[in-house]
């Protein structure tokens, strides 16, 4: 019960943060939903009917299932590395991602501009000239 309520709260927080435009908040949303996912994996190990690991007096088959814990460890490592990468993107990128409006302007022409040694006017203006 505790686990499911926690998962629900984490997911709700994540959905709220996803709805924000700022990329940093989206990343925090991913941190939350990652934890929600990990807790689901944890619950999948039958945490309701099993006791803690290494319990001195208990029978080994009733102890916590180690496999989901291994899953969670793997998932945490992966999520952590991607979170760091996203944080890099958050500090280096524009405030708006621009995927909605600028997608046809990026392509190779931006790249080719960087190849040019001459410093021409910004390509946005040249695009207007062309139009």
């Amino acid at each position: 019960m505790t686990l499911s309520i926690t998962v629900a709260l984490l997911t709700a927080g994540a959905v709220y943060l996803f709805s924000k435009r700022e990329f940093l908040r989206v990343i925090l949303g991913f941190v939350l939903i990652g934890h929600a996912g990990n807790l689901i994996l944890f619950a999948a190990g039958g945490s309701d009917r099993r006791i803690e690991a290494f319990h001195p007096s208990a029978d080994p088959s009733a102890m916590a299932d180690p496999l989901p814990q291994a899953f969670i460890l793997t998932a945490i490592v992966i999520a952590f590395s991607i979170t760091v990468f996203m944080l890099v993107l958050a500090v280096t990128g524009d405030d708006t991602d621009g995927t909605a409006t600028k997608v046809e302007q990026l392509d190779v022409s931006a790249e080719s501009e960087s190849d040019g040694v001459r410093h021409e006017p910004r390509r946005n203006t040249s695009r207007q000239e062309k139009a």
Partner: protein, 549 residues
């Protein structure tokens, strides 16, 4: 080789590229060495994959499984290969080789991390294709995706600051969200069925509704990765944001691995349950339609091609939604054909984009005159995509339509035919907007004067990379100075010099030749696809091999 020996070697498909990647990172900035080692490693694996195909062809099907570590079957992580896996391995590796070549030729591989990242990407793809453990599949998907993020940024705008790279945030967030969702689905599967081994889960979704729902969460996540309507929006936004070489590489690998996993999970875990097939037929028919309509409004070659990819994914997945032996054969054939043709299209238009600086429809014209080879290549691949005989696309579509008529999905047949027509129109749009002669303003006119001004300007050849800065005519003439070939055209009537050299054209030409070969030699590939489909249609052999019974 005996099946046991082959089984023992299977993990090398994942291990070898990882090892080579690790070694290459330590060698520093030696790009030529990197390129050679990279391609050599891929070729070795390609040869091994072809050997696997030959093995399954000579034994007429069968499955080879290997349990990693001394755990008992069902607990150990299994590496499994059957005909479907072998075919996918062969084609993905072929595409990787060709894409590396294209990346080298188009100078998208100018980083010392390019080769190691591609090798790790290959580890992820091969591992995801071979593993029979759903959580392991998640891990390999991540191994595949993490280097992709790096490749996306590395080769997008080489010398520009990272802030100019658009689309990567969308790409990363979409993939992270999908992976989290997939992981949650796997957690549910473990909670309901007590295992994440595909063979142990076999047919359980058919008998236990909770397992079916848990599996559906995973399948939904895979559908997002495969960009099925209504969760297709990310693909056409994210893929064109990087360099053409990397777009071609991703198009051949990422969505296709998800499609492979959907085929495998549905056929084994769901046992091809007929109760849920209508969902697939409806969704995948919508995918075909909406994908192709999305392409109509786009203005650059790569966004058009990306939307077509969405549409084609509908066709491929329809094979599994029919779930007859004929339908699966057609779906697998379509998958193989599509990977080749799509990469060829991305590379032929990408070559134009790299050398002429833009992929905007209508900004260029008369490329067919300067670059006849690329134009013909594009035409072959485009006609193949639309499904015109004698290319492989015709066979693929024909088989799929026969399969759909067979199961009585007439609406899907009508949609398939209609979508083919729109696909052809879209391809003609690229053709007329990029390759066909563009009136009097075409590159073939106005020669000498511009040349002289270009010759005086030492940086003129650099300017040829910035299309917006030059007018249509000057750009084409300045091109004669590009690179090493400095043949100056003075005669008004001569054809302007080719800009796309052999190395840059070769990848798309090779793939176009393969699509023609697939079309003319369809019988053989259909036999192979048939063997693969048999293995999916009746998965007992797969399950027994994995569980070592």
């Amino acid at each position: 080789m005996s099946p046991d020996t082959i089984g023992t070697l299977l993990p090398l498909f994942a291990g070898l590229p990882l090892l080579v990647a690790g070694i290459l990172i330590t060698t520093g900035h030696r790009l030529r060495l990197h390129a050679i080692v990279n391609i050599a490693t891929m070729l070795v694996m390609l040869a091994a994959a072809c050997g696997l195909v030959y093995h399954f062809w000579s034994t007429d099907g069968g499955t080879i499984a290997h349990q990693v570590g001394p755990w008992p079957p069902g607990v150990a992580i299994p590496f499994v290969a059957d005909m479907f896996t072998a075919l996918m391995l062969a084609v993905t590796l072929l595409l990787t080789v060709v894409s590396i070549w294209f990346a080298q030729a188009s100078r998208a591989a100018n980083s010392q991390y390019f080769a190691p990242l591609v090798l790790i990407l290959s580890t992820g793809v091969n591992g995801a294709l071979l593993t029979a453990d759903l959580f392991n599949l998640f891990v390999f998907l991540e191994v595949m995706l993490l280097p992709s993020y790096g490749l996306y940024v590395l080769s997008a705008n080489r010398k520009l600051p990272l802030r100019r790279v658009h689309g990567v945030r969308l790409y990363v967030t979409m993939n992270l969200f999908t992976s989290t969702l997939y992981m949650i689905g796997v957690g549910f599967l473990y909670g309901t069925a007590g295992s994440v081994n595909i063979a142990v889960l076999a047919d359980q979704a058919q008998h236990d509704p909770t397992v079916a729902i848990a599996g559906a969460v995973s399948m939904f996540a895979l559908c997002i990765k495969a960009s099925v309507v209504p969760v297709h929006g990310w693909l056409a936004r994210a893929y064109p944001g990087t360099s053409p070489a990397v777009t071609a590489l991703f198009s051949g690998l990422h969505t296709k691995v998800a499609i492979y996993a959907i085929y495998r999970i549905y056929s084994v875990v769901y046992g091809g349950d007929t109760r849920f097939l209508w969902v697939g037929v409806v969704l995948f028919s919508l995918t075909m339609l909406i994908g192709v309509f999305g392409a109509v409004g786009e203005k650059t070659t790569r966004t058009i091609l990306s939307f077509h990819m969405v549409s084609q994914i509908g066709y491929i997945l329809l094979g599994v939604a029919l779930f007859t032996e004929l339908g699966l054969t057609a779906g697998i054939f379509y998958l193989l054909h599509h990977m080749i043709v799509k990469a060829s299209l991305f590379m032929s238009t990408g070559a134009v984009e790299v050398r002429y600086g833009t992929g905007v429809i209508g900004a260029l014209g008369g490329i067919s005159r300067t670059e006849p080879v690329i134009a013909v290549t594009f035409m072959i691949a485009a006609l193949s995509l639309a499904g015109i005989p004698p290319f492989s696309g015709f066979v693929a579509k024909f088989m799929l339509i026969v399969g759909a008529v067979d199961t009585g999905d007439i609406a899907a047949v009508v949609i398939m035919l209609f979508v083919s027509l729109i696909t052809l129109l879209s391809m003609l749009k690229i053709w007329t907007g990029m390759f066909w002669e563009k009136g009097s303003g075409g590159p073939a006119t106005k020669s000498g004067t511009v040349i002289t001004s270009a010759t005086r300007d030492p940086y003129a050849h650099e300017a040829s990379y910035t299309p917006e800065l030059a007018t249509e005519a000057t750009r084409a003439q300045v091109s004669t100075l590009t690179g090493t070939q400095t043949i100056i055209e003075t005669d008004e009537s001569t054809v302007p010099t080719r800009r796309i050299n052999f190395a840059l054209a070769a990848p798309s030409v090779v793939l176009a030749i393969i699509t023609v070969a697939f079309g003319l030699g369809a019988q053989f590939l259909l036999t192979l696809s048939g063997i693969a489909a048999e293995g999916l249609y009746d998965s007992t052999d797969y399950v027994q091999a994995v569980l070592n019974r």
